[in-house]
């Protein structure tokens, strides 16, 4: 009987669920292997040495043994626990949102180098970010792009002509913006996209998270961008993101 293949990789813990009496199923995002789910045996016991290394959002170095049904974790060493995020409720809620997005958009057995680097960078920036808004919007848009769902923001999805400056309408189903001439051909209801919001989206699509965080933009424009991306993400994900609800609850003050 052949031995299971064991491989080492960097990973970020994006989800955890209890299994049985003392185990957990841990979902990791890894560069080469993409999303990986593995059983961590005995981590819910007090004497477990691995437990602290496998906390949500931690970047770790792990050894994983491939199994017939589920993979098993054999070693884990935490590289970055992001303590400043864990000790601040708003940062934590935002980080959980990033993790859920990664869980939704990344797939098992499909490399996720870009998504891994994006999540790593975003979590690092989130530790000290003044406002999370630019970071979150940048993350959403980049993850959509990396997963093959980049919205087309430069040419009309109907006639392929270059889009001229102005207020526009975005279609989730058609994956981009319709010019005024082609709107009648849109298959479903369209999202209003102001000029300011379009410019921000184009910027976020090509610039780094650091540049995104330096953007100086009126809050009304960020609201537009947020509304558009929330709808677009919801459409692509085909489900509600519970972490988004929690994030809204936490930043709204108190119920």
């Amino acid at each position: 009987m052949s031995r299971p293949r064991v491989y080492k990789t960097q990973a970020i813990v994006i989800r955890q669920m209890p299994l049985g009496e003392a185990d957990r199923i841990v979902t990791f995002l890894t560069p080469a292997a993409g999303k990986v789910r593995a059983v961590a045996r005995g981590v819910r016991r007090p004497k477990s040495k691995l437990a602290g290394h496998l906390e949500l959002l931690t970047r770790v170095r792990v050894s994983i043994a491939e199994g017939r049904t589920l993979d098993h974790l054999s070693e884990a060493v935490a590289l970055d626990s992001h303590r400043p995020i864990r000790e601040d409720l708003e940062r934590l809620a935002a980080a959980m949102y990033l993790a859920e997005l990664a869980d939704v958009f990344c797939v098992e057995e499909s490399p996720a180098n870009a998504a891994f680097n994006l999540l790593t960078q975003s979590l690092e920036r989130l530790e000290t970010a003044g406002t999370a808004e630019p970071l979150l919007r940048h993350f959403e848009l980049r993850l959509l792009s990396d997963s093959g769902f980049q919205p087309e923001l430069f040419s009309c999805v109907g006639c392929r002509e270059e889009l001229l400056p102005g207020d526009h309408l975005l279609s989730c189903v058609d994956g981009g913006v319709f010019c005024p001439n082609c709107r009648a051909g849109a298959t479903e209801s369209l999202l209003p996209l102001s000029l300011g919001a379009m410019k921000v989206l184009r910027f976020l699509q090509r610039e780094s998270v650091d540049k995104a965080m330096l953007l100086n933009v009126p809050s009304a424009t960020w609201n537009d961008v947020e509304r558009v991306l929330r709808t677009y993400v919801r459409h692509v994900a085909e489900r509600e993101l519970r972490t988004a609800d929690f994030m809204a609850l936490v930043s709204s003050g108190r119920p």
């Binding site: 009496e21 496998l54 906390e55 959980m96 519970r242 936490v250 119920p255």
Partner: protein
């Protein structure tokens, strides 16, 4: 997994299936348990059945603190010797039992029945948080100990509740971090847990 009717007919297969549904019971254990029931005395089988039904009929959740109880109020809430100005918030009824075993804590409890874990679909509304606010507001509580598990979701839950209770002016504390991070309260030994409760700090 289908259970073979040749292994003893309908009732055996059905029993194996029922045992298999229980947490931590795999197919082999379910089979062993079922065959044990075949060999055991009728009175023992009846006693087991009665005990199971009795738990479902008689055990309820305490209307004050949501701990396991046999009547409206659990043994803790019903005890006049307890310090009613202190409330210890925990995730599950088993955490109450663990803390009671330390013989250190003399206040009351509040059981959340879970922890905030939005990625797993559990938000604040899915826990017993609103009733907690009602209790703290109305009952002259002076100290609230936030004893959720020391892992990310437990800390998120503590921070969230901390934010809700802070305006009420009550003293908010948390067990000392002598506990291994990422562990479950329920499995900690009595000495560690007892010391952790004694060494609680301003939160």
């Amino acid at each position: 997994m289908t259970f073979d009717r040749r292994l003893g007919g309908g009732p055996v297969a059905k029993l194996i299936e029922e045992f298999h549904k229980l947490p931590g019971i795999g197919p082999k254990t379910a089979q062993r348990l079922a065959y044990h029931m075949i060999r055991t005395q009728s009175e023992d089988a009846q006693a087991l059945a009665d005990a199971i039904l009795s738990v479902k009929e008689r055990i309820v959740f305490c209307r004050e603190c949501f701990n396991i109880a046999e009547s409206e109020l659990c043994a803790v809430c019903n005890d006049p010797r307890r310090d009613a100005t202190r409330l210890c918030i925990v995730e599950e009824p088993l955490d109450v039992q663990a803390l009671e075993r330390t013989n250190t804590y003399r206040g009351l409890y509040h059981v959340l029945h879970g922890v905030i874990s939005p990625m797993n679909g559990v938000g604040p509304d899915d826990l017993k948080i609103k009733p907690l606010l009602g209790r703290v507001h109305a009952n002259g509580i002076r100290e609230v100990i936030l004893a959720t598990n020391p892992n990310v979701e437990g800390e998120a839950t503590s921070m969230y509740i901390h934010g809700l209770l802070e305006p009420l002016g009550v003293k908010l504390t948390r067990p000392a971090r002598g506990l291994p991070v990422g562990s479950d309260l329920e499995y900690a030994d009595e000495v560690t847990l007892g010391r952790a409760i004694e060494g609680r700090q301003e939160f």
